[in-house]
């Protein structure tokens, strides 16, 4: 007994409050340091873009590596939005404007394309995922794994065949042409939602069936509302991906009025003889182009994070 009591006492002294606090303090300090480092690494590019966007081109190349804007100006943002006067352009760019685009038109294209892709992809992926999760048909699982193997095909492989198809359909420089390859579904979206649907109690669907609902009503009336969180997550991820898509619209949308922001921003990288790229314009445009997505993420970010860890309904 004495021995045990001694051991308990020793254990207590080994973990006396100050030692525990010290250990906790070191651990927490290290965690904070790592988090701050990750935060700096993540946010620094945004700051650098903002710093560049608020600088004049001429001063940028003067070699000042300050963290703050060099020769502060907001003309670059006005230039991107098309509200800057010739004098302001000359001031910020240091020369005449050689490359410009209609920001609002490209914003409109980006919104239409990203929205259409999101609606189509989420709708059809959800329907396919439900079929793969619940409906009984011959070869269902084999078909699913075949479909899933599409994840392993690099998108670049399908670029040329899709381009030929879209060209033959006469859809170059059109919304259908930009949207079509992404409209229906992606293996990831189907996989993501199927996993969730598998976790929904089968009894709920059976209850709906006995209550008089068919497959479509069960899906739209019961399953979709029950899956609001993962569907919202998928929608946001799809929207962001569609918004950021660059290569495909670059290939099919040569006409300026059909170029989404990602492609249209390329105007700023076009280098005229004897001039350098318009970095400050590009950064201002990039920030403005990223703004809608940043806002969406700020509003729904918590939901996305929660939903990615969501495993099913009890």
């Amino acid at each position: 007994m004495t021995n045990i009591a001694d051991r308990i006492e020793n254990l207590g002294s080994a973990l006396e409050p100050s030692a525990r606090l010290r250990r906790l303090g070191i651990g927490r300090g290290a965690a904070w340091l790592i988090l701050i480092a990750i935060l700096v690494v993540s946010l620094f590019p945004f700051w650098w873009a903002l710093r560049t966007g608020l600088s004049t081109n001429g001063n940028l190349f003067a070699g000042d590596q300050s963290l703050l804007p060099v020769g502060y100006t907001d003309n670059n943002f006005e230039r991107v939005l098309g509200t800057a006067s010739e004098a302001e352009i000359l001031e910020s760019l240091g020369r005449e404007n050689t490359g410009s685009f209609d920001f609002l038109q490209s914003l409109k294209v980006s919104v239409i394309v990203a929205t259409a892709i999101t609606v189509g992809q989420v709708l059809f992926s959800a329907m396919a995922a439900y079929a793969f999760a619940r409906l009984k048909f011959w070869g269902r699982d084999k078909l699913f794994f075949l479909f899933l193997s599409g994840l392993m095909i690099p998108p670049i492989f399908t670029l040329i065949p899709n381009l030929v198809l879209v060209k033959n359909l006469g859809w170059l420089n059109s919304y259908p042409g930009i949207i079509a390859p992404f409209f229906f579904m992606t293996p990831f979206a189907v996989f993501f939602l199927r996993q969730f649907f598998l976790g929904i109690s089968r009894e709920v669907e059976e209850a709906a069936l006995l209550d008089g609902a068919g497959n479509f009503r069960t899906f739209f009336g019961i399953i979709v509302p029950m899956s609001a969180a993962p569907i919202a997550t998928l929608s946001i991820l799809t929207y962001i991906t569609a918004w950021n898509e660059f290569l495909w619209p670059l290939v099919v949308a040569r006409a300026p009025e059909r170029q989404p922001l990602t492609v249209a921003l390329g105007q700023f990288t076009a280098q005229q003889p004897g001039t350098s790229p318009d970095w400050s314009g590009l950064m201002a445009g990039t920030l403005l182009a990223a703004l809608p997505i940043i806002v969406i993420f700020l509003i729904f970010g918590r939901k996305v994070v929660d939903s990615i860890g969501f495993s099913g309904i009890k």
């Binding site: 109690s201 059976e206 209850a207 069936l209 509302p225």
Partner: protein
């Protein structure tokens, strides 16, 4: 309201597994029938076949005299209550209950009236605008009942609806379901693995084992006249004492061997069960319920007695459950609740709380031999004719 007839109903899963084997049962209009049996006995599969959630491999199902074997679940006019409630989590209680009416395109005013009436019957009126997530287990169960009741179906099907509730609530809901069923008079099939639920709720209880219907009868008949060893071992808690034995028909009595000891049955027993005579000198299985095993000291009137060592006493207040070693091993009837007798002493008695029996002592127990059961050793069938 309708009759339900199961005629040779069989379910064979891909791969050849027979979950339900030629089950035949006729359920009267308004009757409350309970399917009971151990896990995997096919009771839920049988219920799901009636619901239309499982395809019927062979046999015929009739509801209200109409063949429903291949009819879509929606058109069977049945309502089902599920084990996990199966409520729609995004809808309020009101909308959950109203959902089947909405699909049936019932006029709005009538729908509201029926939902209100149902909520009153189930004492859910104050929760109508809550979502299922904000309800307790018992309330959720009542909502599931409400969704079934509101449709006014011909048949209620209930698949272990109380198994997720705590013991106290289960007892309450048991009486509630019985009350509601009696009030509505709707034919009901209720599945459970809990024999207490089965015995207390059902007008009739159908005992299943390995997909085969063993016996379907009133609870009292199942208890007092089990058709075979399985039913004898399954119904009743603690389970019936079953042990291998032999009988000898003598001039004055029938001698029943209990290990190295014996008890005597009056010869009149043979008048009641003449088939027993053919087992004279043969091995068979003898059974006696713990309720018919008494502390001899408290029951001087009973003369048939056995000596036994007390292995364990469970003092429950209202009674004492005594585990005794009388020199026999429990006969293993497959499917019976083996946990009842983990000590393997083979013999349990239920004594009055006044009993002075002590663990470790040797004592005398008295048997009400008129309540003895005999079963064929090979077939397990009760020797009754």
């Amino acid at each position: 309201m309708a009759t339900v007839e199961l005629e040779e109903l069989t379910k064979i899963y891909p791969g050849g597994v027979k979950a339900v084997d030629a089950m035949s049962l006729s359920i009267d209009d308004g009757e409350f029938v309970v399917f009971v049996g151990p896990s995997g006995c096919g009771k839920s599969t049988a219920l799901r076949m009636v619901a239309g959630l499982e395809e019927i491999s062979e046999g015929v199902l009739r509801i209200g005299g109409n063949e429903m074997t291949k009819v879509h679940p929606r058109q069977r006019d049945i309502a089902m209550v599920f084990q996990n409630y199966a409520l729609y989590p995004h809808l309020t209680v009101r909308k959950n209950i109203a959902y089947p009416l909405k699909l049936a395109k019932v006029p709005k005013v009538e729908m509201q009236e029926r939902v209100q009436r149902t909520a009153e019957v189930l004492q859910l009126s104050e929760y109508l605008d809550r979502k299922p997530g904000a309800l307790s287990g018992g309330q959720r169960q009542r909502v599931a009942m409400g969704r079934a009741i509101v449709r006014e179906p011909s048949v209620f099907l209930m698949d272990e609806p109380l198994s997720n509730l705590d013991a106290k609530l289960r007892v309450y809901m048991r009486s509630e379901i019985s009350r509601i069923q009696r009030e509505l008079g709707v034919t009901t099939i209720y599945v459970t693995h809990d024999q207490v639920e089965a015995m207390t709720m059902g007008d009739r209880v159908a005992v299943l084992k390995g997909g085969v219907l063993q016996q379907a009868d009133k609870p009292s008949v199942l208890y007092s006249e089990p058709a075979n060893l399985f039913v004898a071992g399954f119904i009743g808690s603690p389970a019936m004492n079953l042990f291998e034995s032999s009988i000898q028909v003598e001039e004055q009595s029938i001698r029943v061997r209990v290990g190295q000891q014996s008890v005597d049955l009056p010869l009149e027993y043979l008048d009641q069960f003449p088939a027993l005579r053919s087992y004279d000198g043969e091995r068979l299985v003898c059974g006696i319920r713990p309720d018919d095993v008494y502390d001899a000291a408290l029951n001087p009137g009973l003369v048939q007695r056995l000596q036994g060592d007390v292995a364990l006493l469970e003092k429950l207040g209202s009674e004492i459950v005594a585990h005794l070693d009388v020199g026999v091993r429990r006969f293993e009837s497959a499917g019976a609740d083996e946990t009842e007798d983990e000590l393997g002493t083979g013999f349990i008695g239920r004594f009055r709380p006044q009993s002075e029996a002590r663990a470790g002592d040797r004592m005398e127990v008295a048997l009400d031999v008129s309540a003895m059961h005999f079963f064929d050793l090979a077939t397990g069938e009760a020797i009754r004719s």
